[in-house]
């Protein structure tokens, strides 16, 4: 039993990649040895970096990727329901990103062109007609732009949230490419 009440409670952080490339997660890990300092202040809930299968009540949710299929929407809603602060991370979450270049094509034609016989097992989530940024479906509290955002932007955001400050990106940490 944890009886130590002197140390401040660690913030619970969940992360997920929806229609993402995992590059935002890699850029997060690019904070390198600062991860050891960070882990003194946070603990991970559901994340590709943990084995937790469903998101529980959290302080912070980091969402990489836009919405390209039905499962993305379900997971995003679960994150919104559980996370006090939800952060759109990277160009895909914020704008739809390069995957949204498919928006001018017919999704049926595309699947046909790639697969010939389109997989139709109900296990598979159906693709959405268009790729959407996540703010079109749930309320977003903060955004980290970039493809991916620089490691220092993740660091800055988490430092601000841990300290209870309104997150603010310094000049040079806002980029879109």
């Amino acid at each position: 039993m944890n009886t130590d009440t002197s140390a401040p409670r660690k913030l619970r952080v969940a992360t997920v990649s929806l229609a993402g490339c995992f590059g935002c997660h890699m850029s997060f890990l690019d904070i390198d040895e600062r991860l050891f300092e960070l882990i003194e202040h946070i603990t991970f809930d559901r994340s590709p970096l943990t084995d937790i299968k469903t998101v529980g009540p959290c302080d912070i949710g980091l969402i990489e990727g836009g919405l390209c299929n039905a499962e993305n929407v379900e997971v995003l809603r679960a994150f919104r329901a559980n996370c006090r602060v939800l952060v759109a991370v990277g160009a895909c979450a914020i704008t739809g990103g390069l995957p949204a270049l498919r928006n001018h094509l017919d999704v049926g034609d595309m699947l046909q062109a790639v697969y010939g016989t389109v997989p139709d097992d109900p296990e598979l989530p159906l693709p959405l007609n268009k790729v959407h940024p996540i703010h079109e479906v749930v309320r977003i509290d903060h955004s980290l732009p970039g493809c991916p955002p620089p490691a220092d932007a993740f660091w800055q955001l988490l430092q601000d949230l841990i300290a209870g400050r309104e997150p603010a990106l310094n000049k040079g940490l806002i980029r879109y490419d």
């Binding site: 390069l98 270049l101 928006n103 732009p145």
Partner: protein
Amino acid sequence: MSSFSFDGQPVPLQPGDTILQAAQRAGHEVPHLCWHPEVSSSASCRVCTVRVDGRPAAACTTAAAAGQRVDCHTADLRAQRLHLLQMLFVEGNHFCPGCEKSGHCLLQHQAERAGMTDLHYETLNPERPVDASHPDVLFEPNRCILCQLCVRASDELDGKQVFAIGGHGIGAHLLIDSASGRLGDSALSVEDRAAHICPVGALLPKRVGFAVPIGRRTFDDEETRG
């Protein structure tokens, strides 16, 4: 010498000055997109909106006058600029990670300066076909912000009138003067000023993309890449 006040600082006037001209000459930066020193002003982007004695006005077309009080970098004007930029981003397909203009783009630069981190509005997903018919110049209309710089450059500098704006409301778009409506059949040459004045990645010379290393592009600074 007569002067006006710009964000509380005196700015000297020359005859015929607009507010933007005089302020820039005095070393103040006035955010803008559709203004360019080589061509006439059009006041279409509204990013240079300032308050002149309390009333909003486009700094690029408003004559400067002695004794004016001009406010540019105020909290409400900053908020308005941010929303104008967000509207331009959702109106087109601005996927900077795959755009050859990234780092050289004035829209992107103004958005970074305005502290834009999200799009705020719903994306409109325009589906205007790319025009790659010209041997040396590409036109990607989903990035066009209708600044009309190419229109004015073609008219005023090249003497060609290759471009115009047509359509209404959200349907407004860049027209190309040729029987087919395509760039390849127009009088545009890659030597023309109009082929290079586009502030965004809409009109691009072909075969020169991604030529400048990240960190050394037009709007990169020492903080852009560590």
